[in-house]
Amino acid sequence: MAKIIVVTSGKGGVGKTTSSAAIGTGIALKGHKTVIIDFDVGLRNLDLIMGCERRVVYDFVNVINKEATLTQALIKDKRTKDLYILPASQTRDKDALTIEGVQEVLEELSKEFDYIICDSPAGIEKGAQMALYFADAAIVVTNPEVSSVRDSDRILGILQSKSKRAEEGAEPIEEFLLLTRYHPERVELGEMLSVSDVEDILAIPLLGVIPESEAVLKASNQGAPVILDTESEAGQAYMDAVDRLMGEERPLRFLTVQKKGFIKRLLGG
């Protein structure tokens, strides 16, 4: 039985797809058979971040509509063993997703995979609700900024009220906070919320803090998840987050200006 993890945020542009790609890849690197599903029907992005856009033939909606089998639609990642991608449809909209259709696909995937990562679209409407409905765990991606924090709080409310687990009164969805685009200098200047500010407002366990890094944009444009860039702070921070997700203890890194300044000086930045 696979563990279904939704990567969600409410707000757009905070790094859901980047995080889905990185964390999915990280879990697969640990030897677990993993599939990442792009729920952002109509705004297909995950394939670009994963660098498999030219191999998309069939998509998630085709499988739901029984126009293709799962085996036909799943794309095997070329870099990482045990990693598969189920792309979204670019020509359809969120109404193409149905609870029954999504459930059928997830059930079939569950037989074969250890982890199913659902990359949620932004917003709190149907698309986002479909992505989180069957989740066992949720990674709430948040930027250290008030509107993002507010939207994350809203999505946490939806996780508690509109998910399958909530409706059936089962054990609630496990919630994790992933703070992305963190800028220690700006936190120090009081321009950005600190880790503890966000933790205080959202009151859920912290999975990781990903520092703002040029490596993220570079990785996206190259179509390689940033976690594979083991030199970069962002890649290392994502790996720490995956370790914590697997239940290992890892100290938080890249949170202070001093350390970053020191590295920068060493690299002659």
């Binding site: 507010r150 939207d151 709080d153 809203r154 409310g157 508690q160 407002i201």
Partner: protein, 241 residues
């Protein structure tokens, strides 16, 4: 505290409902007058609503306006009228008094002694507001997130935070054993004795029985500290705990 020369507030009043069953202006006026003579203090300037939902035969605008005039002449203050939403008369927009939403059946309780004395043509009913009836306390252990709304018919106890953008309402008191960052409205059915208690006051709005205060004002009194909110002579008082 505020530069505004007025405050808009919500309020709940107990009122008399005149439920007309058959229209006969003379009979209604006569019977109502007799009723008023029994307890003149009770009826003097009392607010009254005319309800035509139970009328088997319709009523014309002229007849209705005449009824309003004679009821007013008896010293009652007609504050509105209402009718079953499915049988609203065509002249509904031309009436001189406001049309009120139809009542919920359970809100109306017949006062038996009045019913006995009144002829079947006119029934005077008293609307009994559901208030001050002890209700079970609701206890919430999980954070109330932005966009969520929780309502308790009695007291509401929250053992976690109330996030900004969330709303908690209770007919009775509200206790928040965590930061209160959203809106808290106690005594929403008009209980002026209701209070709000919280461990860390960071609310967007607090309200008791319709009297409210916004975070700007709260910040000058108690902020990020334990506090209680209560109503003293129509104004909210916020005190540290």
């Amino acid at each position: 505290m505020t530069d505004s020369c007025f405050q808009l507030k919500g309020s709940v009043v107990t009122t008399i409902l005149l439920e007309v069953q058959t229209f006969s202006l003379d009979d209604i006026t006569f019977q109502l007058k007799k009723k008023i003579e029994q307890v003149p203090h009770f009826f003097n300037q009392a607010p009254i609503i005319i309800d035509i939902s139970k009328m088997k035969r319709g009523i014309t605008l002229d007849e209705f306006e005449a009824l309003i005039r004679s009821v007013s002449a008896l010293g009652l203050g007609v504050i509105g009228w209402r009718c079953h939403p499915e049988s609203l008369p065509v002249w509904k927009g031309s009436v001189s008094i406001p049309l009120l939403p139809a009542s919920k059946a359970r809100a109306i309780q017949t006062v038996p002694e009045i019913k006995e004395e009144v002829s079947p043509d006119v029934v005077v009913k008293t609307v009994v507001e559901e208030r001050l009836v002890p209700q079970a306390t609701k206890v919430i252990t999980k954070p109330i997130r932005s966009g969520q709304q929780v309502y308790a018919e009695g007291d509401l106890i929250i053992l976690a935070q109330v996030s900004a953008g969330a709303e908690v309402l209770a007919d009775g008191n509200i206790h928040v054993y965590g930061p209160l960052r959203g809106r808290a409205l106690a005594g929403v059915k008009g209980d002026r004795e209701a209070r709000i208690f919280c461990k860390s006051m960071e609310a967007e709005l607090v309200s008791i029985a319709g009297n409210f205060m916004l975070s700007d004002a709260l910040q000058d009194i108690v902020w990020k500290d334990s506090a209680q909110v209560l109503l003293v002579d129509d104004s909210l008082e916020v005190t540290p705990l």
